[in-house]
Symmetry: C2
């Protein structure tokens, strides 16, 4: 693994590049992004130069797709007939089933290894890229083809960056993040909408730090989320229905019973994920 | 306002005392709590000595009730026949209607001014008390009797501590915090329960920072929350039903429509409360 091309040099793509350098990677790092992003990425030392998808398809050992999901799907279509047989294509998209299916359908010569770093920041863009962004964070890989030497090298570099690699099927990944990421996002969004629609002006003034926590995800812009949610619709709907059922039970219990045990179960789970 | 007695010298009661001192209060500060808490509070310089409710009822200018709600209700019953006519009793309970009704029913001589500082920390106890806890935070007061000189002095001291006083009726307060505090608490709790009940072991490992935000309130212990929720049942149920309706609409829209506008509404609200 000597020539790495990054498509979409934003927070994630830039952090992958900086992480590689920090871990001792001495090969070439090129980027495929808008001219202004390429300029900013070169200035920050994230990549050495800009390139084209065609050049990367012809000569890169690894192409890292760190674009929004809809763009990843389009890039895979373009790479399909041109990415050479020694090339490993990997991605950092937040859902995996559709991307994996698209890769298997399109790529004629290159191999594919889907990925999803469970890491992020509120700020986006290469100017916030951080070589330690993946450190101590889960990094899901969804292998669907045979292991290859180049895929092993990618795993080695991710481990050296401090990421905790977890292998899952694309379907299991998508079911899991529907529960741990997409459901919380929609609840935060729906909470903010509920308060906005409550008709009580005082809700914008009389609140504590808890509401700030619970509406942080609601600040998310729809551009990324629309394609995340739409490419995981069945699992997200299942997670929403699970929550709706649990909430109905909480309401029933609150109307007439004792909710002490609910708080204990919830606190147990919340402590458990903080130890993970 | 020279003699202030604090019943319940924990995070809130201790922070009120430290805030008074920081604002220049030179009067006496006494505390009513367990012997170990009194000792810790004296050691931290929060109060000068322990006292009894009977002594406070006979001689304090202000009695500040910073206990859990169920204890505040019992303390008001005890103070009813003994608190002298020059005494102002105020509280820091998270719901106001029942406390205000109880005070008006019980207090024969003393006057009452309900309060609720919208401030807090994850840690409890006098050892985490902080003279700046109320600074730049809303402090709701729910006056239900005529203004008095001593109530005006309390307002002046709260202002000097940096608190932003907001006057509301107890009912309006309770309706508002049902939406901004009690609903978020129950959603966080229900989210944690949903994930615990999902049957997916992977949910304890594969998650990003968003789940940590969304389950922070779920760490709350039931001891305080049971009495908060039970003393605000009608407004909490109304808030839950509002949320359930909004969530049903989100689900319907997600099944078949475009959720872009929902994200925009939610982000607008979330930005608004961050500017408040």
């Amino acid at each position: 693994m000597n020539r790495v091309a990054i498509a979409g040099v934003g927070l994630i793509g830039g952090s992958f590049a900086l992480g590689l350098r920090k871990a001792g990677f001495l090969g070439e790092l090129t980027g495929i992004s808008s001219p202004s992003t390429i300029q900013a990425a070169i200035a920050r030392g994230v990549i050495t130069r800009g390139t084209t998808l065609e050049e990367a398809a012809a000569s890169a050992d690894v192409i890292y797709l760190a674009q929004p999901i809809d763009q990843i799907l389009r890039t895979l279509e373009r790479l399909g007939p041109i990415a050479h047989s020694g090339c490993l294509i990997t991605d950092a998209g937040s859902t995996k089933s559709l991307i994996d299916a698209k890769a298997n359908e399109c790529l004629r010569f290159a191999t594919f290894l889907g990925g999803h770093p469970l890491a992020g920041k509120e700020q986006r863009g290469v100017e916030h890229a951080d070589g330690d962004l993946f450190r101590h964070r889960p990094y899901v890989l969804t292998p669907s083809s045979k292991p290859s030497a180049i895929a092993e090298q990618l795993r080695k570099w991710l481990t050296q960056m401090g990421a905790s690699i977890v292998d899952m099927t694309p379907q299991h990944h998508d079911k899991t993040v529907a529960l741990t990421s997409h459901l919380p996002q929609l609840l935060s969004t729906t909470l903010a909408i509920s308060l906005a629609h409550s008709g009580e002006d005082s809700v914008t003034r009389i609140f504590g730090p808890g509401l700030i926590d619970m509406t942080r995800l609601a600040l998310s812009t729809p551009d990324l989320w629309t394609s995340i949610l739409e490419t995981n619709r069945p699992s997200v709907l299942e997670a929403l229905r699970l929550f709706q059922n649990e909430l109905s039970q909480v309401v029933t219990l609150f109307e007439s019973g004792d909710i002490t045990q609910l708080f204990a179960t919830a606190a147990d789970f919340s402590r458990k994920i903080r130890k993970a």
